[in-house]
Amino acid sequence: MSPSPEQAAFPEAFAAALREPRSAIPARLAARPGVDPAVRFAIYRNNMAAGLGRVLADRFPVLRRLLGADFFAALTDAFIRQHPPAGPVLLEYGALFPNFVERFPPSQHLAYLADVARLEWLRHCALLAADAAPIDRAALAAQPPDVMARLRFTLHPSLAILRSPFPIVSIWRANIDPANPAVVPAGLPGENALLVRPGLVAEIHAVPASRADFVERLQAGVALGDATNLVGADLTAALAFLLSAGILTGFFPVSDDAARRSDPA
């Protein structure tokens, strides 16, 4: 039996009523005798909003500190109404939040907030990204020196770079520990954040723009020798950083370039 038009419209009406705190309850909603369905529906609606609000508070802790709990709650309420989850997986919820923050009229004059939110979202993504073992250093060192410039690398799956005109890494570091007072470091230049999760903790580094460019070229599969012009005399330090931060996870030996990388494990 196919549903009547009224039945077919019910899920849509139910979802719309869930989003709007002051809307009427959906038609045809019933509760057990003696219980007002409006009261039961309000509990359900409130639990959904509170649960999503806690997800966002957990995912954007620095933004919440910078704005204060009340302002943050107003912001997330507005976001949840406009952008309820698109799927059942809450780990994926919040991707649209940074852009929403950017356009939220009450805080639009605080331009750095959206980039702080983007940094926090990338940190969340880095936590969820696949693990990878660090590069086999002995195998790398054993490559013939005259082919090293032609090596191409695989980089950690959690790697992400965010360039900002604001000192986002300094702001994040100053506010991530709740034991410290909330502050926004003033008078600092913009920063480029590089995120990677070599173990169980997502690391956030501030890197020069040239080093960010270098990493992105290597990530795009460019041979080492074709990317070194980006860092110039900083090459040894840049490579040492890539190794110690766990960014390099494998390389393609020049002899069998087209084949698989040296150590997929």
Binding site: A130, P134, A141, P145, D146, G199, L200, A245, G246, A265
Partner: protein, 95 residues
């Protein structure tokens, strides 16, 4: 500077960097734990049915691993679909 010299300069930088840099600190406190990951949530495996992240098709694949805090793998118990339980393993589990 000709191409070969430039190449050797880069090799020198790479070898210096290998000598100067530490092994990633965060990787030291972890271990690879086999047999505990859910389908599609594994990392990489060196043997058997899948080659890399997110490709395991069954829950608790004996050949698929996840990074876990060092020392916790073998005390992690998973409940299999048949109701039996099994600890994680530091090596791929033989079928």
């Amino acid at each position: 500077m000709n191409r070969r010299t430039a190449g050797l300069t880069i090799a020198g930088s790479l070898l210096s960097a290998l000598a100067l840099s530490a092994v990633p600190a965060a990787a030291e406190g972890t271990e690879k734990c086999y047999g505990i990951s859910l389908a599609g949530q594994n990392d990489c495996a060196s043997t058997g049915g899948n080659s890399c992240a997110g490709t395991s098709k069954v829950d608790f694949d004996k050949q698929a691993w996840k990074l876990v805090p060092a020392g916790t793998c073998e005390t992690t118990m998973v409940t299999l679909p048949d109701g039996s339980t099994r600890p994680g393993s530091l090596a791929p589990i033989e079928s």
